[in-house]
């Protein structure tokens, strides 16, 4: 008996669509260490239908695994942890290819670095800094995305490492619609002019879409203001009064909508600073090794500088608004037609560029170009520093900013202490606080290490909250199930964003603060 995937995945297909789902189904994920943090991360991915998973773990199931890992039970004691976690995961979804390697991840990194190049993404859990540094280099070399996750008592972290991750479908929650009321093109002006705002029929009057009202009244305004649109606060208020003056009745919702959207005629022309930065990026000088994304950006840049007259291609969709059906459908067609025209121009540039750099001119399909054009105002380029760069030269200003913040100084403290416990482990071959009898000594030792890390970074050692040092020793590296489920959950959500190339992934290092939940992302 098999479930229809469309039905089974319905609630997530509504988020990332068929394309996102097929990206997941084509991805192969490697997990290092299948304690609760790693197991929970994989559980969430397997449920969602990830293509394949490979679990690397050399441990045998011990008693403490049963206290914090739901995927293991008494029957697994003494057996391979990787094998038993995999058999539970397979039970969750038989469409997923499940494999395991009974070997210590630390050893595998040293003995078989090429092993990792077969994966889309590696999730490294509960690993010390020294191993992560090596793994990061290996992954970077073969362009494999690395997601680091760690649970430690009531704290933990999640971090992404990849040279560059580009997002076309960033799907932001709140983004200004692309109506071009400040800069209407001839067909839109023509349509607006065909509708009389002084229409006597009250039904038509109160069903004239606000796009038409605003285009017409903006033109009227401009003609009496030397061609300028309302800019100052006073002018914007006067413009609203002008709209109000055209109302027949106070309950006309379309005019209310026009007043609420009046600011859209005053938006700044041209592209956002974020998009400007992308089209001015050096990667836009494409060659045969450039990614499709940068070829598309290069074409976008040509368009903005030429046909676009400084504007990006039109998105082509309009929000719902009070309107007669006929007016609304006509407006939709006018916006779609302009968007299609813009997209065709961009396609022409794409083909030209592909030819110039010696690639097959059809190697980027039209559908991809269309999606790119629709989302061109929302492009995101995420670049991550290597773990080594973060460790040797993190952004001091970022740490300083939060170190003195009442709400977030704990997160900064945890960040430093998570690094300090790894150094402690290197020095003493164990984590601080594992022996009840040595907790107080370990507090002093860990504090000394943390202060020296702070001093090396040029930060004041006294900013470290003393209570946190004690907390770290109290935890002694405990992997609390609820914390692991949280950290593993965050890691799996990031994996989904990275694999589907939709939405914007975590942009820095997330430090989990399980004490009061004032967690924080540091861009270091």
């Amino acid at each position: 008996m098999a479930a229809e995937p469309k039905t089974k995945y319905d609630r997530q297909l509504r988020i990332w669509g068929e394309q996102g789902q097929s990206a997941l189904e084509n991805a192969s994920i490697c997990l290092l260490n299948c304690g609760p943090t790693g197991s929970e991360a994989l559980k969430n991915l397997v449920l969602g239908g990830i293509g394949s998973i490979t679990v690397v773990d050399g441990a045998k199931v011990e008693a403490y695994d049963l206290g914090n890992n739901f995927l293991l039970d008494e029957g697994c004691l003494g057996q391979s942890r990787a094998k038993n976690v995999c058999s539970f995961l397979q039970e969750l979804n038989d469409a997923v290819k499940v494999k395991f390697v009974e070997e210590s991840p630390v050893a595998l990194i040293d003995t078989n670095p090429s092993f990792f190049s077969q994966f889309t993404l590696v999730i490294a859990t509960q690993m010390l800094e020294s191993s992560l540094l090596k793994l990061d280099l290996i992954c970077r070399k073969s362009n494999v995305i690395l997601v680091v996750a760690r649970s430690y008592g009531l704290t933990g972290l999640v971090r992404i490492s990849v040279k560059e991750h580009d997002v076309v479908e960033s799907k932001p929650d709140h983004f200004l619609d692309d109506l071009r009321l400040h800069n209407p093109w001839p067909e839109l002006k023509e349509f607006a002019a065909s509708i009389d705002l002084n229409e006597k029929d009250p039904v038509v009057h109160k069903h004239t879409p606000y796009i038409v009202i605003l285009v017409t009244l903006a033109e009227k305004w401009a003609s009496s203001h030397k061609g300028c649109l309302p800019a100052t606060r006073q002018e914007k208020k006067e413009f609203k009064d002008l709209i109000k003056g055209h109302m027949l009745n106070i309950d006309e919702e379309n005019y209310q909508e026009a007043m609420d959207s009046a600011f859209k005629v005053s938006v700044t022309r041209g592209i956002s600073p974020e998009l400007h930065q992308i089209i001015e990026d050096s990667a836009v000088n494409v060659n045969s090794t450039s990614s499709d994304f940068w070829v598309l950006v290069a074409a976008l840049k040509e368009f903005i500088n030429k046909e676009g007259g400084g504007e990006p291609p039109l998105e082509g969709s309009i929000p719902d608004m009070t309107s007669l059906t006929e007016y609304y459908v006509n407006l939709q067609k006018i916006y779609q037609a302009k968007a299609e025209k813009d997209c065709n121009e961009i396609e022409r540039y794409v083909r030209e560029i592909l030819k110039r750099i010696g690639r097959d001119t059809d190697s980027i399909p039209k559908s991809v170009i269309k999606t790119f054009c629709r989302n061109s105002r929302k492009l995101k380029v995420c670049r991550y520093r290597t773990i080594e760069e973060e460790i040797t030269s993190p952004s001091i200003s970022e740490l300083q900013k939060y170190a003195t913040d009442e709400d977030y100084c704990f997160s900064v403290g945890f960040y430093i202490l998570l690094r300090a416990v790894d150094r402690f482990a290197n020095n003493y071959n164990r984590l601080p606080g594992v022996f009840d009898s040595e907790i107080e000594e370990d507090v002093s030792r860990l504090k000394a290490i943390a202060v020296s890390i702070l001093n090396d970074l040029g930060l004041n050692g006294s900013s470290l909250p003393e209570d946190l040092v004690h907390e770290m020793c109290r935890y002694a590296g405990a992997e609390i199930h609820a914390v692991a489920a949280f950290i593993g959950g965050v890691a799996s959500q990031e994996v989904i964003k990275l694999v589907t190339k939709q939405f914007v992934p975590l942009t820095g290092t997330l430090i989990f603060n399980g004490i009061d939940h004032k967690s924080q992302v540091f861009v270091l």
Binding site: K8, I15, G48, Y64, D320, I439
Partner: protein
Amino acid sequence: MAEVATEGRWKDVDRLLSRHGNLVSAEFDPRPNLREDIGEYVKVLVVGAGGLGCELLKDLALSGFKNIDVIDMDTIEVSNLNRQFLFRLQDVGKSKAEVAAKRVMERVSGVNIVPHFGRIEDKELDFYSNFDIIVLGLDSIEARSYINSVACGFLEYDADDNALLETVKPMVDGGTEGFKGHARVIMPGTTPCFECNIWLFPPQVKFPLCTLAETPRTPAHCIEYAHLIKWDEAHSGKAFDADNPDHMLWVYKEALKRAELFGISGVTYSLTQGVVKNIIPAIASTNAIVSAACALEALKIVSGCSKTLSNYMTYNGQEGTHIKVTDFFRETDCLVCGPGTLIEIEPSVTLAEFIEKLEKHPDVLMSKASVTHRGNNLYMQAPPVLEEMTRSNLNLALYDLLGKVAKDTVHVSGMTEKNGKRSSSLRKLRVSFKGVSAGPTDMDTR
């Protein structure tokens, strides 16, 4: 399943529960057997066995809780399987609460989970009063509101309007939508209850009927036309059932016809389902994150092993990853968690007259009220057996029924109307009898 004695099994969580810390609650008493005591003496109720509920049961069981009850009226559907990890394809159609409880007990030995397959409104107040803490994994505002009113109903105040600590029933509430979610801690009488911040959950916007009938513009308008207008026209008297695939298909086809008529594109079967059932997108990872935060707070509340969330956390992974904590304020005159609505009546008023008064009282407006006093049923509208048993009270004076005191608290449940929607609700009232001199402890109130 009895717990197999496995030395060191709880090593990790015991680090938190058996060791001193400086960032803990004042009541924290760390000791090696604290986890066992929590397991033995703390009773936790999980409301909902869906996306959040499955995660919560697992997380609580692995946090040391052993006496867990779970209540859910739903049965398992195929579309649950992308996140509700305790369910398999062969479980489709079975009770969520029952299957979830069984699966967690199979895997975590020593934990006892009692499932309740049914509606939260059908349980007696006594049932809820049994629990030390209630964890909510729900997707409906109405259900949250109901549990909130029940939990706040247990709260008692002293003469100075300070909450009596021993009557506080803590709640932890989670919710998700897509990549976003929230977790919150509610300490009735201290932190805001669900009703204090009800504005955080704005009601769903409905399309005006005239738009559907006359000026449809979007595929959703066409779907709602078929669902809300055309269905009734075509099926006189037959109620639409969103779970009946034939009904859904009919609505889809009608919506498609209407869309074609008006030149609107984009009506699909999937969208039809989404609009008609008001489907909220849901994924495993967000449910896992929010539930984990809730379970962790539950453990901290009962053990004191760390400070707690104060009091509302939002998680947003849509555009980058953002976690934010907001410390909301309580509405001191909240009808649900406040000291209660004051009703002043003559000592001669009978229970029947009191119930009638509630229909017209501007701050209550409740019809067909059932009344309880300190857990005793004074009058119950249903079931018939209870109605018959309590009917004789109707002609007695409330003053006598409450034991001849100047004022006291009663709970009433019945139907109220909010935003044009009738729903069952539960309220707390402080009844004060006119002309009756207050006892010495009540001297300084109003």
